[in-house]
Symmetry: C2
Subunit: 150 residues, 2 copies
């Protein structure tokens, strides 16, 4: 059985490359929204979004939940705090822990961004017919299960 004398890889159809390129393009165009609007970075947006969704959380929880490295979270929290969009509350039991939550000003920013995010996503999925949309959601879920939970 002969080996092919020069195996090549088609980068355009290689899964890691495709995922990256897609994530990059989508992320970039969505980030224009919160960046231009409020000068938020991506880690800041994620932190804001996580706290907006869950209310109060510790930095560690925010990181776990939004898949961010703890130094990213730390810096994002500091930045949001400087703008007074977030405040920290000490924990009664454990003085290492800080409970984070959005201030009313932070809430307002969050509430302004949520509909924009939803519209962005709807526009994107709106370009696909029903079958394709289902494939996207099913495919993502399948990959998440295979890749992330283990």
């Amino acid at each position: 059985m002969a080996m092919p004398d020069r195996e090549i890889l088609s980068l355009e159809s290689f899964l890691p490359y495709r995922l990256n390129r897609l994530a990059d393009a989508v992320s970039r165009s969505f980030s224009d929204i919160y960046r231009q609007r409020h000068g938020l970075t991506r880690p800041e947006w994620r932190t804001l979004a996580t706290l907006g969704q869950y209310g109060t959380m510790t930095a560690t929880e925010v990181g776990a939940h939004s898949s961010m490295h703890k130094t990213k979270v730390s810096r994002a929290v500091a930045a949001l705090e400087r703008r007074r969009w977030l405040k920290r509350r000490a924990d009664g039991q454990d003085r290492r822990v800080e409970h984070l939550e959005l201030t009313p000003a932070g809430q307002r920013v969050y509430e302004e961004l949520v509909p924009l995010a939803k519209t962005f996503e709807a526009d994107l999925l709106g370009k696909l017919d029903m079958r394709k949309r289902e494939a996207v959601l099913k495919g993502l879920a399948a990959l998440e299960e295979a890749v992330l939970t283990k």
Copy 2:
């Protein structure tokens, strides 16, 4: 018609976030392979992979093809050149242009990595049943069409 008084966004089901997290995880685990094995960075791997696939190309073409910023390509090319895995040839007509190609040593590295890449992808897709795999491929293709070509 009443507005909901506080709209929230579920980050875990938000498309840009999901794509990013997935791309990040997949990319990170694949990059372990070429990083540990040959100390390549991601832009270097992509450049190598593009030249391995297409033979000779200019830096601009590599960038267009692998979706990389031109400064990334420039630096990756310089790094690969330092290791003598790539060489530049001047263009006869246009002295701004450089034609890039892998040296035999670069070819060898590429040929060692290709099967690893294929195995990596096969392992990943192998965790999915046929239906899911089809959904992944169809979903990716649909998103690519909606997002990238326009």
